[in-house]
Amino acid sequence: MTIGDIKNYLDAKVLTGDELLDKEVHTACGCDMMSDVLAFVKDQAVLLTGLCNPQVVRTAEMMDIVCICFVRGKIPSDDIISLAKDRNIAVLATGMKMFPACGILYENGLAGGASSE
């Protein structure tokens, strides 16, 4: 699945990273607690979150997450968007709630990001 597919499935707006829409995503993680993201996420992931602060981008940066999708109609501030842009992370925003958003991606073949090591 590509970031562009995710945009379409979730009827999301692209806030930054139009040039990244062809990038492949292998796993997804739906999470509002950043330490859980740091504990479980695997490579080439998209992070779905309802949390809206710069630490979301920093956490994504630490984990090499390629795309952040804000759910529940949250729109991040400009400094959050530019932080993501600097780090080559695509940012999407959807009006969907967390559960249906994750469900749609799962149904379309995206795996959960949790590793069981």
Partner: protein, 140 residues
């Protein structure tokens, strides 16, 4: 000249929105130096969790990084309240974080166990009312 490279970071305890800047900087440097992706990720997670802890549980502090051919040493020193019970603090899910910190996305009680998991060696020195020093070693 030794074959060691050192970096020093001051972490402000005042500004939560800037927490993680030191980790971000070190991660970029390691990538440029050509460290393996696995090492870069391990260091990034350990340092970021530690840096966030300094900001939310203490009042900031200093981080010293020593890079040598064999390993990377992270030393995070704060003058915060100290940790009363290290064993308890190390447990997954144990957190004293306030509701306010939880609403910022932290306080799951996962940080110290993440640091333990991703480092090859970790040591916590803490004195109540004086401060905490967390030292982590990540092998190359």
């Amino acid at each position: 000249m030794s074959d060691k490279l050192r970096f020093h970071y001051e972490v402000s305890g005042e500004d939560f929105t800037r927490a993680g800047e030191a980790s971000s900087d070190l991660k970029a440097k390691l990538k440029l130096m050509g460290a393996s992706p696995e090492v870069v990720r391990k260091v990034a997670i350990c340092m970021y969790e530690g840096e966030i802890n300094m900001v939310i549980h203490a009042c900031g502090g200093v981080i010293d990084v020593t890079i040598s051919p064999a390993d990377i040493l992270l030393e995070l020193k704060d003058v915060g309240p100290g940790i009363p019970d290290i064993e308890k603090a190390m447990q997954e899910g144990y957190s004293t974080a306030s509701e306010n910190i939880r609403s910022l996305g932290f306080g799951a009680g996962m940080g110290l166990s993440n640091m333990k998991k991703y480092s090859d060696e970790m040591k916590i020195d803490t004195v109540l009312g004086v401060g905490t020093t967390v030292t982590m070693r990540i092998n190359m």
